[in-house]
Amino acid sequence: MTCAPYVVPASAVLRCDDSVAKAMSLVAASCFAPLPVLSAEGRVVGLFGPRELARLLLPTGARLAGGNFTLGFLSEQPEGLRERLASVAGDDVARHMAPHTPIRAETSLHEALRRMHHGATYQSVVDDQGRLVGMLTAASVLTTLVEER
């Protein structure tokens, strides 16, 4: 049982040199789902979504620190967050995307589910040539399973 029947088309794709501003609007238009980022050769090299956007709202130091770093001491107004987001709006999305290894369409559904269990809730799916086929998500799997009943 491969994951192919459960794959849905990506609502949009990003290129490495797309700006964060463009990425933000595309992510928003995709109901804040993570989008695949493609290299110039068309290969999936990362994901960019709400998690990456939320990360960009943080001060740089907090982004670099480990999990035990707290920001409770910071007293900042929403303008500060907007300023921070504006300061990276022109950056290439490749600079802020999450690294991502796509799965192949013939990957077993169980293996894809195992990856989901370990946090890969959005997985890009590629064909033999490494071209993007679509996305596999918990929602796409569950929706298809329910429809199959």
């Binding site: 001060p59 740089t60 907090a62 707290t70 409770g72 007293s75 900042e76």
Partner: protein, 442 residues
């Protein structure tokens, strides 16, 4: 003498020197993880017959390993309380968010933390807070990052537990926490003060932040950085006991490694109280996961490699030649060790260097009038190896850690700009150390 027959009947000194040289070269090249290199070097030393297994195991200084692991565990738990962020924010507010004042205070805080913690851990704790503060102040973080690199290496020199070379020297010689504090802390305070002055003159006095930006920092709540007050109290209490035990280790007949590990176990016990078995396992696993195992296994491998070189007689041979060069004069030898250590530590990892130098210096004891006569040489080695790390960006692990964080933060600290500032300042610090050694011991 080598305990086993050496491969192909080759001279042990040749084989041991080759293994050491290749291990050093591989560590410097950084193409393979240094722990892997050191363990392979250790294995080759045994497989080539320079050492047998018993001799190799005897070469591993378990006191050093225990001290490193114990302190890493103590920090891993203590940092969860938010105390390090508290101190950084509190000091920034203490100087009314004045950028020049913050530059001074962050150096003081980094140096103090570094005296009690590993340098890399210190910068990992303090640099993110510094970046948050400089971002709020809308000022360039470069001077802060470079100053904190310096402070971490300088502060770490002042105590037995502050920098791995000191841990190695202390464990190998029996010099106590108090010995290090009494002999090194005075000169380190002076060197840090001079460094703070230089950074203020070159960078600090030109730093400016708008009143609005300063108000943002003044609006920070240091108290809110504390995430777990109970843990904070427990951590500080255990750390105080551990430091107290270091101070009284000699009369208590305890080794620093034992103290650190018992302290770590005590804090883990307090941290686990009230948790169910599953939660305890999960938390202890996480804490153990924060131990820098690469460093630990690097040390283990290195101890065996150095033991091989020592057993093969290479270090004895080197010591004899060094004595011939210096004429056995203690002052000349101390200065040679200080400056050679500083220059070499600016370009190579000071841990393998010091690990190799320790048996070499020890073998000079007969010429220097016994173990007591070696003491200035140990201080020279410590000061040279630790302060030398400030000379270049690759001179110490803390430098590379800060450089890596700075790069990711979009404020890269590059090799040449750092070198232009750092090398001269490093030479100045070693010159001060020379003067101190000369006046106090030689």
């Amino acid at each position: 003498m080598p305990a086993a027959s050496v491969i192909f009947g080759l001279p042990p000194m040749l084989v041991a020197t080759l293994v050491l040289a290749v291990t050093y070269a591989a560590i410097i090249s950084e193409r393979v993880n240094r722990a892997v290199v050191a363990l392979l070097g250790a294995g080759i030393m045994i497989l080539c017959g320079v050492l047998d297994q018993k001799e190799a195991l005897a070469g591993i200084d378990f006191n050093t390993i225990a001290l490193l692991v114990g302190m890493m565990i103590l920090v891993a738990i203590t940092r969860r309380s938010g105390v390090f962020q508290f101190v950084a924010v509190w000091t920034a507010k203490l100087v009314k968010a004045n950028p020049a004042g913050i530059l001074v205070m962050l150096q003081v805080v980094t140096a103090l933390f570094s005296a009690l913690l590993d340098n890399v851990t210190t910068v990992l704790l303090v640099v993110p807070v510094a970046l948050v503060i400089t971002e709020q102040l809308k000022i360039r973080p470069w001077p802060f990052l470079v100053a904190m690199i310096f402070a971490s290496n300088i502060g770490g020199t002042s105590t037995l537990i502050g920098d791995p070379p000191n841990i190695l020297i202390g464990s190998a010689t029996g010099l106590s926490f108090n010995d290090f504090a009494m002999n090194l802390a005075p000169v380190i305070v002076g060197i840090q003060a001079v460094t703070i002055g230089v950074f203020h003159l070159v960078y600090g006095r030109a730093l400016n932040a708008s009143p609005e930006a300063r108000a943002k920092v003044m609006g920070m709540s240091a108290r809110a950085a504390i995430t777990d007050m109970v843990l904070l109290r427990q951590s500080l209490a255990v750390l105080a006991v551990v430091i107290g035990a270091f101070v009284f280790a000699h009369p208590l007949g305890l080794e620093p490694g034992t103290i650190a590990l018992v302290g770590a176990a005590l804090l883990m016990l307090l941290y686990c109280l009230g948790r169910d078995a599953e939660s305890q396992s999960r938390e202890i696993n996480r804490i153990f996961g924060e131990v820098e195992w690469i460093t630990i296994f690097f040390f283990i491998g290195l101890f065996v490699v150095v033991r091989g070189v020592e057993v093969a007689g290479v270090l004895h041979w080197l010591a004899q030649h060094l004595m011939a060069v210096t004429g056995g004069d203690r002052a000349v030898t101390a200065m040679l060790i200080l400056w050679a250590s500083a220059i070499l530590s600016a370009v190579v990892d000071n841990i393998p260097f010091v690990a190799t130098m320790i048996p070499l210096v020890k073998s000079m004891a007969p010429t220097m009038g016994g173990d007591a006569g070696l003491e200035p040489l140990w201080w020279a080695l410590s000061l040279g190896a630790c302060l030398g790390g400030n000379g270049t960006l690759v001179g110490a692990s803390a430098n590379l850690t800060v450089a890596g964080m700075a790069e990711r933060a979009g404020h890269p600290v590059r090799f040449m700009p750092f070198l232009k500032v750092a090398f001269g300042l490093m030479l100045l610090s070693v010159a001060i150390a020379s003067l101190y050694l000369w006046l106090r011991y030689l």
